[in-house]
């Protein structure tokens, strides 16, 4: 029996295992990248709010995603 894409009678099981492996690790790779961007954006907004409070009279900036 030579190895092939059909995996004998076990194609469903083998390729499902491969798919689970890639899908779970893909989510695991993308989640922290998105979280870092989100954290940086939240931080930028927070610092902008503090700056505005410190200097009253200046128009508020970057308040949208507060």
């Amino acid at each position: 029996m030579s190895p092939s894409l059909s995996m004998g009678a076990y194609g469903f099981y083998v390729w499902s295992a491969v798919a689970v492996f890639f899908i779970v690790l893909l989510i695991d790779t993308l989640a922290p990248l998105a979280r870092r961007r989100r954290n940086l954006r939240a931080l930028r907004a927070r610092i902008a709010r503090q700056e505005n409070r410190r200097r009253p009279g200046t128009p508020p900036q970057n308040e949208s995603d507060a």
Binding site: M1, G8, Y10, Y13, A17, D28, L40, L43
Partner: protein
């Protein structure tokens, strides 16, 4: 800390240094993990011969076994970090311990699902309450418990310390998972690859397995570093180094 620890390791305890170091290493670790993983899968799925008993179904081993090794390896690494966090109160150790938990949970989940996909055609059942399967499921629950406990505190560091304690308590399960196939009569087969003594596997099947092991180790480094960076940005939000990161004047907020 003890003075045999090299200076660069001390420096890595500083959040900004670790952040930059992790940022430099992460893409290389991820790229190398992907390349090695592809080579390993090619070798395992297409080059290695079929098993004389299990046919092509055994090829799940190239995903299942490295993931199972990682489920225990990540727990061991997390325990070391948790111990350092509790004893020396090193902030980076707390973050490393807590950010390891989701990666370990992911590998444990993959292990359980791929094991199930292997068990159905070979054993005739998706699941059985066998010692190895049950202890691996308990491992997943411990990982989820650590994540849950960490997030149930208002204060990050307090949550990290409480969860680190749970990590050390839960570590008793690691040897149980590993030795379960020797201690009890299990449906699950015994170890194929052994550190001591000859492995029960042919070289054409062994090299993809070991290559995948290296790939998953590198993947852990990549995922951990990305997670630590994401967390440090939030945890160190008020610090001057994060402000500089944002391109703002480096002045700490009160």
């Amino acid at each position: 800390m003890a003075n045999w620890v090299p200076l660069w390791l001390h420096r890595l305890g500083s959040p900004p240094v670790f952040y930059r170091f992790a940022g430099a290493v992460q893409p290389w670790a991820l790229g190398l993990a992907l390349a090695l993983g592809m080579v390993a899968l090619y070798g395992g799925l297409f080059v290695a011969p079929a098993d004389y008993q299990q046919g092509d179904a055994y090829r799940i081993i190239f995903i299942h076994v490295p993931s199972a090794w990682m489920s225990l390896f990540v727990y061991a690494a997390m325990s070391v970090a948790a111990f350092m966090a509790l004893v020396w109160r090193i902030k980076i150790a707390e973050v490393v311990a807590m950010e390891s938990a989701p990666i370990g949970a992911a590998f444990t989940f993959i292990t359980l699902v791929t094991g199930s996909l292997w068990g159905k055609p070979m054993w005739g059942t998706w699941w059985t309450w066998d010692a190895r399967l049950t202890s691996e499921l308990v491992l997943l629950f411990i990982y989820l418990g650590v994540i849950g406990l960490h997030h149930s505190f208002e204060d990050r560091r307090q949550g990290a310390r409480a969860a680190s304690f749970l990590v050390l308590v839960g570590a008793v399960n690691v040897p149980i998972v590993h030795f379960s196939v020797n201690w009890w009569n299990t449906l699950h087969q015994g170890s194929t690859v052994r550190l001591l003594g000859p492995s029960h596997i042919e070289a054409s099947m062994l090299w993809p397995l070991l290559t995948m092991m290296a790939a998953t180790k590198l993947y852990y480094i990549a995922s951990l570093f990305a997670r630590v960076r994401a967390e440090l940005v939030a945890a160190e939000g008020g610090k001057a180094w994060v402000r500089e990161l944002l391109g703002l004047p480096g002045r700490g907020t009160p």
